[in-house]
């Protein structure tokens, strides 16, 4: 078994199993926790919980006007790399073939050249995010090991993917294996660190929205 066989086989399979286990474990543990019955009377004229949740999710897509200027970089850069990652993951044919092989699901994809460009933009954007984290005193103060580690495991697949398609530094099979291994690390970390926001972001924003709406906030 060579490195690529290991990456395509045991490594990615175990990583996916860990990811799925971790995600469902954490999600179910949160979703079935239940909450204490709220005995207060909802404020008059407020939307129902579902509407309030959706409204809050939409509202938080852009910063509050008060902070719009101060947060312009985080807002813009955040969107760039999130959309960039989505385009690279779901718009590149070989990535979709990975999903198709597992689930049978497939969709039209972008020309590889476009994905390379988006990948490069994403890389720059992620690098900028780190610079911001290190240079902004407040952000630096509230950043912990989880933040930095999550950043590393996110940027590694982007770097290794670009290096693989560019055939830089080693033979393609080695670069591809390293790329797949970097994704394995990302998948394993996904449920256990701050990257879990991928699954919780809308749940938490929606819950907050419903809770606050009831109180008329």
């Amino acid at each position: 078994m060579d490195l690529l066989d290991f990456a395509r086989g045991p490594a990615i399979n175990v990583a996916m199993a860990v990811m799925v286990f971790g995600v469902l474990w954490r999600l179910f543990a949160i979703l079935f926790l239940g909450k204490a019955p709220d005995r207060t009377v909802p404020r008059m004229g407020t939307p129902g919980p579902l509407g309030a949740a959706l409204r809050e999710i939409a509202r938080r897509m852009v910063p509050h006007p008060t902070f719009a200027f101060a947060e312009r970089f985080s807002f813009f850069n955040g969107w760039v790399f999130h959309v960039g990652l989505a385009v690279v993951v779901f718009g590149f044919r070989p990535h979709v073939l990975f999903i198709k092989n597992l689930t049978g699901l497939s969709w039209p994809t972008l020309p590889s050249g476009v994905v390379y460009v988006v990948g490069a933009i994403t890389l720059v954007s992620l690098a900028a995010a780190l610079v911001r984290r290190l240079t902004n005193p407040v952000q630096r103060f509230i950043s912990g090991l989880d933040d930095y580690f999550s950043w590393v495991v996110t940027i590694l697949p982007v770097i290794t993917g670009l290096v693989a398609v560019g055939h830089v530094g080693a033979r393609y099979e080695t670069l591809l294996a390293i790329h797949i291994l970097s994704i394995a690390v990302l998948l394993i970390w996904l449920p256990f660190g701050k990257l879990f926001h991928a699954f919780l972001v809308f749940v938490s924003r929606g819950t907050t929205g419903a809770f606050l709406a009831r109180r008329g906030v």
Partner: protein, 351 residues
């Protein structure tokens, strides 16, 4: 049997001038991307060389490699190699049989001690004392070790000899191993492929003959001149890959338009061979040009890479089962954790 005349003298006797060497060397030099000065030196050295004694051993194989090397057709350029070598032992091509053929091998070994080249096609079975493949009452292992003892170099022709190939494929019932696994004290050149490109076989022999040394090899013992480049990098369908145009099957619009075969499992990106540049049958075509993805036949264990039609980016092995099991376990663990938390909360509330 090898004699003392030079190849130049031999060909001259047949009315062929030294020009044949110039032509042969320029052809081969072009295939191997040798600098023109090296090609010229090769022509001169070939003319001065003695006919090379070659002993060809066939073990666990299908004779496809012999078929390939003898299919370079009419008495022309590509065939000159058969004037350059003295094939002193070859089961399939030899007219004699029985004791006489074994005597021929021993005679060639004695006469050309230290100078003959051993070409092997097929892997060697090691399980159960090697009884799964024998010739003249000897196991392949014994024949191999006896023959290579006084050889100048060994050429493993075909993926079976080079890497174990199909006999070694899971579950490897005969315990097949490659020649390189057994021969450690002689140079072993691997010319893998199923079969290898004929020019890669003859070119390597001609190089040995001209320069008396092993050509530059890659980390798998393959001559870089023939195995230095990736099929995907030199594939004429590469622009379709870059444009994201893929055949989804073997008879869809993409297949008919000649689009990239990545999605139907082409192993071109991880395969090193000269198919995309040299092609087959005198440059007629190669598998991808004929509409089928590359199987990766010049790479070790190509039979066990998860399937010829599974895309390279897809996972291999029991992914679905594993992930399904993990999902179930994760769900159970999550619900259990929630239940425990609720229970604790309610007992706290009750005080």
């Amino acid at each position: 049997m090898a004699d003392q005349k030079t190849l130049g003298e031999r060909l001259a006797e047949h009315g062929v001038s030294r020009r044949a060497f110039v032509k042969y060397a320029s052809w081969l030099g072009s295939l191997m991307a040798l600098p023109p000065a090296t090609s010229r030196a090769m022509a001169a050295e070939l003319a001065k060389a003695k006919r090379q004694s070659v002993i060809w051993l066939s073990f666990q194989e299908c004779t496809g490699c012999t078929e390939a090397i003898t299919r370079s057709k009419g008495p022309t350029l590509e065939d000159l190699i058969f004037d350059f070598i003295s094939l002193d032992y070859h089961h399939t091509l030899q007219a004699v049989s029985g004791e006489a053929i074994e005597e021929a091998r021993h005679a060639a070994m004695k006469e050309n001690k230290g100078k003959y080249v051993v070409i092997v096609d097929g892997s060697v079975p090691m399980k159960d004392g090697g009884i799964y493949s024998t010739t003249a009452g000897h196991s392949n292992y014994d024949t191999l070790m006896e023959t290579v003892k006084d050889a100048f170099a060994v050429i493993s022709v075909g993926t079976c000899a080079a890497f174990g190939g199909i006999p070694k494929a899971n579950p490897n019932p005969t315990g097949a191993v490659s020649i390189g696994d057994l021969v450690k004290d002689k140079p072993v050149i691997n010319i893998p492929g199923c079969p290898p490109i004929p020019e890669a076989m003859t070119g390597t022999v001609a190089y040995l003959l001209s320069f008396g040394k092993v050509p530059e090899l890659d980390h798998l013992g393959r001559p870089k001149a023939f195995f230095g480049e990736n099929i995907h990098d030199r594939c004429y369908r590469r622009p379709f890959y870059e444009r994201g145009q893929f055949a989804r099957g073997f008879d869809d619009e993409g297949a008919r338009n000649g689009w990239c075969l990545y999605e139907v499992g082409c192993k071109g990106p991880t395969t090193y061979n000269a198919c995309a540049t040299m092609k087959w049958n005198g440059g007629v075509s190669f598998p991808i040009q004929s509409g089928h993805g590359c199987l990766g036949c010049s790479e070790p264990d190509f039979w066990d890479k998860g399937g010829f039609y599974v895309p390279l980016s897809a996972s291999i092995g029991p992914t679905a089962k594993l992930v399904g099991g993990a999902a179930l376990a994760g769900a159970v663990a999550g619900v259990a954790a929630a239940a425990v938390a609720r229970h604790r909360k309610s007992s706290l509330n009750k005080g």
